[in-house]
Symmetry: C2
Subunit: 146 residues, 2 copies
DNA sequence: GCTCCTTTCTTATCATGATAACCATATCGC
DNA sequence: GCGATATGGTTATCATGATAAGAAAGGAGC
């Protein structure tokens, strides 16, 4: 993700508004600001995760598995359904997490098409070490806006 | 961009907060909501732009050139500096816009390293046809939050 | 119990972001 | 004015998102 470094000034938006009556200057300005904020925050998060050999997606996968009840048996599809990402990306990313020893992918006994994904001890540890900085970063970002 | 479809519930955040005192539940919840909103909005925008054979980046480039003073001579680097995107991506994307006839890329007389980028009539037209729906979409999104 | 449709996951391929390393040209210091 | 450094742009390569299409298994209708 990326976005304009210098958002349009109020004056520029008003110039556009004169030509585009369907436009609400305040709402447009708010949306642009939000997208810029999200863009900057997500970049910062990804840089932070990289230090743990994670990405935003790999982190989200760990957290989705972790927050499930202890006896839950999440399949690859279950995880994909909880995150807004396509199936092939899930396949590839889970393989990478498994290669890194952070998750286990095992066949599901009941349905031979499915595979059950669980966190390894290393995965739980990696997540635990990542969380404090993560919460700190997003709290800190919001602190400038609230 | 992508993000959790189901954001953590207040209850789950409080469970994490108990283990992570540095975490401010309200701020974390606000940041997660913002990223989710931005993610959804950007997807919708990209889908909208695709109908005009544009992407968010290609659109931003057109708007950055357009909003400059009529006699401004933006170079490739100038545009890159206004948008949060790397130089090679600018090179590739500008080439694509030029191939599509939406911009002109001409050598700069003064500095032989630089190239000056301008909108063609087709580029201005494409931008003009894209803007109303764009403003409508982001106004509409914000309307649900303001 | 076949046939057909659905579901789960994978493979192949493309689009588009990033960095590293490279020319060509400008500019700075002396 | 010449060597060193900085700047503008490109090429090569990788990371990671998407869609399309297929294999394997499950399930529904008859």
């Amino acid at each position: 993700m990326f976005f304009l470094k210098d958002l349009p000034t109020q004056r520029m938006l008003q110039r556009y508004a004169a030509e585009h009556p369907e436009m609400d200057v305040d709402k447009v300005a708010a949306a642009l600001t939000m997208m810029r904020r999200a863009s900057v925050l997500i970049r910062a998060l990804d840089a932070y995760f990289a230090a743990f050999d994670l990405s935003l997606l790999r982190f989200l996968i760990l957290i989705v598995i972790d927050r499930e009840a202890a006896d839950a048996r999440l399949t690859i599809g279950d995880i994909g359904r909880r995150i807004d990402v396509s199936k092939p990306v899930m396949t590839r990313t889970l393989k990478r997490l498994a290669d890194g020893g952070l998750i286990d992918i095992a066949p599901d006994g009941a349905d031979k098409r499915s595979k059950v994904v669980t966190l390894t001890a290393a995965g739980q540890d990696r997540l635990a070490r990542t969380l404090p900085g993560y919460f700190k970063m997003i709290s800190g970002d919001m602190a400038t806006a609230m």
